[in-house]
């Protein structure tokens, strides 16, 4: 867009920008929490596992139960670690992809659909918070299954669809 000989670039709606920023901020905060509050997080995880002993299939044998507990705590921490990593990464993907949509995709309706898909997909990292919490409450396999099927997969598909749509819109514009 040329305005008064100054080249300006359209920006996406503030709602989309806000979701990207909140994901970045949550990712940063989770990283700091992981580092500073590791013992507290591990204690909390152990307490939740003990409160849901049946879901974790505890046998009453200390050796076996300790192994199960360690594996679940490790998985919950991995969920938090993935949340940190994806919060930062997907926040940036949402920001730059939506900036591209605003700048190069003609047609308000198409832009709105792409913003919707990308913003929904921008919530993908929250799936790893669900992942971490669900393994503590429901057991490792059931928790992972729940997070993957109901949160990570739909939100992941949404961001992929948004990016494919952006690619198609850019290719069509070029043609």
């Amino acid at each position: 867009m040329i305005r008064d000989n100054v080249r300006t670039v359209r920006r996406p709606p503030l709602g989309v920008v806000l979701v990207a920023l909140v994901m970045l901020a949550l990712g940063e905060t989770a990283g700091a929490a992981m580092s500073r509050l590791k013992p507290e997080i591990q204690r909390y995880a152990a307490a939740r596992i003990a409160a849901n002993a049946a879901a974790h299939g505890f046998s009453g044998s200390a050796e076996y139960d300790d192994e199960v507990r360690d594996r679940v705590i490790f998985t919950a921490e991995a969920g938090l670690s993935f949340f940190h990593l994806h919060g930062e990464g997907v926040g940036l993907v949402l920001f730059f992809a939506s900036a591209l949509v605003a700048a190069i995709v003609p047609g308000r309706r198409v832009r709105t659909v792409l913003y919707g898909l990308l913003t929904l997909g921008g919530l993908f990292p929250l799936g790893y918070l669900v992942y971490g919490a669900a393994v503590l409450e429901m057991g490792r396999d059931a928790g992972i299954e729940l997070a993957e099927r109901w949160v990570l997969t739909p939100l992941g598909v949404s961001v992929i669809a948004g990016l494919v749509g952006l690619w198609l819109a850019a290719a069509r514009r070029r043609a």
Partner: protein
């Protein structure tokens, strides 16, 4: 609203972009150097640790010492990797967030403060991983981590986190005030 008066971006100050690009360049160089000089870096760290046996709890028994050295070298390598990863990521975070701050925050003092916090915090934080790695041979695993934590990670990380949440608040406030200012009907 027509296409021609759609909202547009404002570019952040040039020094901010230079710092961000420098951070990304340093990350790329760091990644390349890690791969190219892996043997030399490992040898340097190992020699440094062997020169200070008491710092690392080396006892002179090969089986015990090798395990301690291996663990320290894994952390040394992890520090370099984390520097590479964080410097790349934070360079992009600086560009994205300072662009939003330049566009959305109307008050000049608040805008300058947020941009300064985002830039210094974002560029400084990854340096902590480099410092951690560099300090391991001289100070040991725990002490080097404590030094990096209090001199770099905590101040620069806090600056980034505070600035990001403030910026999110400014964006939310801007959305609310624009909605309020929109004429009815």
């Amino acid at each position: 609203m027509t296409e021609s008066d759609a909202p547009t971006w404002r570019v952040p100050p040039r020094w901010v972009l230079l710092v961000a690009v420098l951070s990304i360049v340093a990350a790329e160089v760091g990644g390349g150097a890690m791969a190219r000089f892996k043997v030399e870096l490992t040898r340097w760290a190992r020699d440094g640790m062997l020169a200070r046996p008491s710092v690392h709890g080396l006892v002179g028994v090969r089986d015990v010492d090798e395990r301690i050295l291996d663990e320290a070298l894994v952390k040394f390598d992890a520090g370099l990797r984390l520097f590479h990863m964080h410097a790349e990521g934070m360079g992009l975070v600086i560009i994205a967030t300072s662009t939003v701050a330049a566009t959305v925050i109307g008050n000049a003092a608040a805008r300058r403060t947020i941009i300064a916090l985002l830039t210094t915090g974002g560029a400084g934080y990854p340096v902590g991983y480099l410092a951690w790695s560099a300090l391991i041979p001289s100070y040991g695993l725990e002490r080097s981590k404590t030094i990096a934590e209090w001199l770099v990670w905590v101040p620069f990380g806090t600056a980034t986190i505070v600035a990001l949440w403030c910026l999110a608040g400014f964006v939310a406030w801007s959305m609310i005030s624009r909605r309020g200012a929109r004429p009815a009907g």
